[in-house]
Amino acid sequence: MVTSLPAQVRRPPKAAKPPKSSPARRTGPLGLVGLLALPMTWLVGVYIFSLVMLLVTAFWTTDPFTSKVKPGFTFRNFEQIFQNSAYLSTSLRTLGIALLVTALSILFAVPLGIFMAKIAAPWLRAVLAVAVTLPLWAGYLVKILAMRVTFTEGGFFNWLMAPLGVSGPGFSITTVVLTLTYLWFPYMAIPVYTAIRQIPVNLFDASADMGARSWRTIRTVVLPLIRPAIIAGSIFTFSLSLGDYLAARFVGGTTQMIGSVIASNINLNPPIAAAFSVVPIVFVVVYLVGVRRTGALDRM
């Protein structure tokens, strides 16, 4: 990686732009190679190397008797993902959960953002901004614990619903979706709110002057303008939900997600765990490539 970045590729100063001193002079003793050498050695040498080795392991086999990993080349592990109906349905279930969590987050983040940015008084806006950010710091497991306490058998939710004769979802796939939404919602809410705040007020005036009602203004003015923010938020809600398995483990009852399968195989059968971890990578990469041209990645 480092060797492919020769020092000559520095941009020559352009005449059209305001005069700029040569970048080399401004960075001091470290040139581009000097700046990138250490981080790239780390990211490529540790991280990318590990990802590649994981991919390689996915083609290896496990000795069924000693459960020792044997190098080789087989597509069997990948075939398993498609042939084993439990594995296939787990992949599809996980994808469905991740999409549902993303949809729910958008559904709540947009009204919240509109309220905060355009209706709430300045003091209320400040309070809400803190209120939405705060749970982000409260701790991942703390929040799973909180959902567990809320939805447990003799817990708050069932107590609240008892007078209505309704019993809560207990520990099930519904609770997994709710918990993941609970966990990742701020990642959607904050960029959406920021984007709505940045919409110039006169656009709303123009829309209203031309006779659009509130719903129409939201649909034709607000939504198209906050699309990049929604996409940026969805990268988090989608990717984070896709790889999660502790929510499924602690509030999901018998619900299995891709992560559950990887985690339960990592010690017994590393090649199948490796093959299975390619599934979320493929989902995320397809998603990232899909949204890349929208320019949303530059905002991350």
Partner: protein, 269 residues
């Protein structure tokens, strides 16, 4: 101004109230259950007691877990501060082939699911380094955490560097300052608060991380999240975990307060 009809405003207000309730009622229940004398979290709470607080503060396991989390967090943050700042400078000061790729490479460790990072590093540690006679042990965790913390520092520092006025540095150079002096006295003070904010975010991210940690922690070593997870996995989770969770919830106010202050620091300039 966005003109909304009265029913639309009320509807939006109700959604906001629902979202706030959804965000805060579960956390409130955890805090309440920390004072629940019963062994298992329940509702309504009938027996208020401080016995779990006493148990938490005298627990050697919790003390060790906190210590591990702090050591790993500080180690990972130190590495992330160095690497994240270097990449931010490279991307802001130079234009080169593969710039997008480098950017993607930094974001990748948090863009990919944690379990993939965890399993990949676990695979490298156990199937490649260990047979080669290299035991990463405790450092495996720090290496893993540093990898996904780089992006936090990178994002903050890069955003600040983009807003800096290059003439200030040029003036420093023109006045005869050496490159190192310019960096030390001119450049660094200008992005110091972003550097600190990035470090804080990196530490918070590391302190909270559990999925990658599960796969990279050496046997028998618990970070605080691992300790919480093991408690939750027990059939009758002792209420002491609610006490630890409550302390984390209260402690989470600190980074919010600090980042608000750092944010103000920026706008005042």
């Amino acid at each position: 101004m966005l003109r909304l009809s009265r029913p639309a405003k009320i509807g939006l207000g109700l959604i906001v109230a629902l979202v706030l309730a959804f965000l805060y009622v579960p956390l409130f229940l955890v805090v309440l259950n920390a004072f629940n004398g019963a062994r298992i979290a329940a509702w309504p709470v009938t027996d208020f007691s401080l016995r779990w607080w006493e148990a938490a503060f005298t627990s050697e396991a919790i003390r060790l877990a906190v210590l591990n989390s702090v050591i790993v967090g500080l180690g990972a943050t130190a590495i992330a501060l160095l690497l994240g700042t270097l990449v931010a400078f490279a991307l802001q000061r130079y234009s080169f082939f593969g710039k997008q790729t480098v950017n993607l490479l930094v974001v990748l460790p948090i863009a990919l699911p944690g379990i993939v990072t965890g399993v990949a590093l676990n695979n490298t540690y156990n199937q490649i380094l260990e047979p080669a006679g290299i035991q990463v042990g405790y450092f495996g965790m720090i290496i893993a955490h540093a990898t996904f913390c780089i992006v936090m520092v990178f994002n903050n520092v890069l955003a600040r560097l983009r807003r800096l006025n290059p003439s200030v540095e040029e003036a420093s150079m023109d006045l005869g300052a050496r490159p190192w002096q310019t960096f030390r006295f001119i450049t660094f003070p200008q992005f110091r608060s972003a550097f600190a904010a990035g470090g804080l975010l990196a530490f918070a991210l590391s302190f909270d991380e559990v999925v990658v940690t599960i796969f990279t922690a050496p046997p028998g070593v618990d970070t605080l999240p691992l300790w919480i997870m093991n408690q939750m996995a027990r059939p009758n989770e002792a209420s002491v975990v609610n006490v630890v969770a409550t302390v984390i919830i209260v402690a989470s106010l600190i980074p919010v307060w600090v980042s608000q202050r750092l944010g103000r620091d920026v706008t005042e300039r």
